[in-house]
């Protein structure tokens, strides 16, 4: 387990908070030309929310937005109503023990708007991480997006049991995949070790 606990790193780009303009995450020094359509999407979000959101990356067909947990509900609502995204494809919990945070990443797509068919909006937010988690009863909590995107229902249940992030307001926070009597750490946390590895 030792090899993993020492290397957790930040997936966030090193953004320059002074500029409200999105900053590309690519390591090359030469300025990369951002794809125009994707830039338009991120610009709309930045225009609406200002410095409450930060643009993590703008790549071809993918736009990454980082947002704090206080604003994630509002941003998601704007993404649905203002930008025509209509379903969530995937919700992933990513554990960052060194930063004492767990990132929850929503991959949001659109069926109803043909111009967005290729696009995935990557909405990332972070919850506080506890050393000794009691899932549901510690500070690792986020507001649910289930009232905005119905499709997150099972995904958020999975993140709750696998990463221990409790979604406040989710109507059904039971276990989904794990056994009912599971009493160990949430298994996708980095400090949950696989035997023999």
């Amino acid at each position: 387990m030792s090899s993993d606990s020492e290397k957790p790193t930040d997936a966030k780009p090193e953004e320059k908070p002074a500029a409200t303009k999105p900053v590309v995450k690519k390591p090359e020094e030469t300025p990369v030309e951002l794809p125009a359509f994707e830039k338009g999407i991120s610009d709309k979000i930045v225009e609406k929310f200002g410095d409450k959101v930060e643009v993590a990356f703008v790549k071809e067909d993918r736009v990454g937005i980082n947002v704090s947990k206080e604003n994630v509900h509002d941003v998601a609502e704007f993404i649905r109503d203002g930008l025509n995204y209509d379903h969530v494809e995937s919700v992933s919990g990513v554990d960052y023990p060194l930063e004492q945070e767990i990132a929850v990443v929503y991959h949001i797509g659109s069926y109803s708007d043909p111009s967005l068919a290729r696009q995935i909006l990557v909405l990332s937010t972070r919850a506080q991480r506890e050393e000794n988690p009691i899932p549901g009863h510690d500070a690792t909590k986020l507001p649910t997006l289930r009232d905005i995107f119905y499709s997150v229902e099972f995904h958020e249940r999975e993140v709750f049991e696998m990463s221990g992030v409790y979604f406040e307001g989710h109507p059904d926070n039971r276990r989904l995949l794990l056994p009912e009597d599971w009493a160990d750490l949430p298994p996708l946390r980095k400090d949950f070790a696989i035997k023999g590895r």
Partner: protein
Amino acid sequence: MTTELPTDITSAAIHMDKPSSSWLPPGLALQKVDERIMTLNVGPQHPGSGHMRLIVQIDGDYIVACDPDPGYVHRGEEKMAEYRNYITNVPHLERPVIHDSCNVLYPYVLGVEELLGIEVPERAQYVRVIAAELNRCIYIMYWLAIYGIFLGHSTMFMWPAGDRELLIDLMEKMTGARVTHAHFIPGGVRNDLPPNFEGVCLRQVNYFEKRIKEYAAVFYDNPILISRTQDTGVLSRQDAIRLGTTGSVLRASGVDFDLRKKEPYDVYDELDIHTNVMTAGDAYARSKIPWLDMMESCKIIRQALQKMPKSGSVRVKLKPNPKGKGLDTVYKRVESGRGSLGYYIVSNGKPEPYRLKMSVPSFRNLIALPYLLKGEKLGNMPSVYWSLNYWPVEADR
């Protein structure tokens, strides 16, 4: 987005007010609301379904509520992937759907190639497309066989199970393995095609297409099937979108969405692809779309065989333990036999992924099940369940 969705069983759901060790098992979470209502456990030893439990509440013959309980075949693929490097992850990541093993690996190799910055040779891209389409047919034939036997139609079990062998033989020629090929690797495919493969493939695929067309008479035009599936488990277009369903479920509800066309990967943009869409949204439409997809796959394979470069490399040699270029994330998705299948890979510059998440179509379609079964007759449960193209092992990962 205005349709009122039923809140299914959530009124009976437990809000967590106890520490995790004392959670009630899901079976006990459903409360008895009425003397008339009976709770029925379907599975997890349900034959053919791959270990999946449905907790169904019935009032007489009608289903009042359904609570899917997946997880009996959870294998921890995502956790395993964090301990293995990008190459050794290949064989175990295809295990969730061995019948569709090329398609389940496809987004993974695409994602890793983007992380590592690899350009794949053109011939390898065509070989991948052919293998992926063959695998799609193999998966659909297997699904169709089970769908047939679950409806009590044993001919529809025997025919697809037999005709599937045509394509499995092809895959065996191509990859050396009948089912679990592990043929796609970052950088291309493992081996080049065997000599004379094109001719054999064309012959087999033509015969296969002729065979599956005969299924119409015995299955799809069969009045018994139609009476059991038409207007059963209807999913409206709005709800299909709102529930985030994918693949044949989505297209049977009238949404024209196929990633091979909408977000073409590899050489799919050079091929002429027709997306099959039906508007009924019932179990019949959902069972017919995959069958139409197979005929489309045959056309794609013929086109790919024609356009494929006749010689050339099929693989970029990688260094041992390839690494990403520092902090990076990638989300790649392909159209698998069941729908859009995506991988979210977080790399931190190490040879292993920092986090790997599979977003699988079965898991995404599962949310529609309680919604569709509510108000159905219990006897219609198999036809609705299988029409969702649900694969429990994939949903659990």
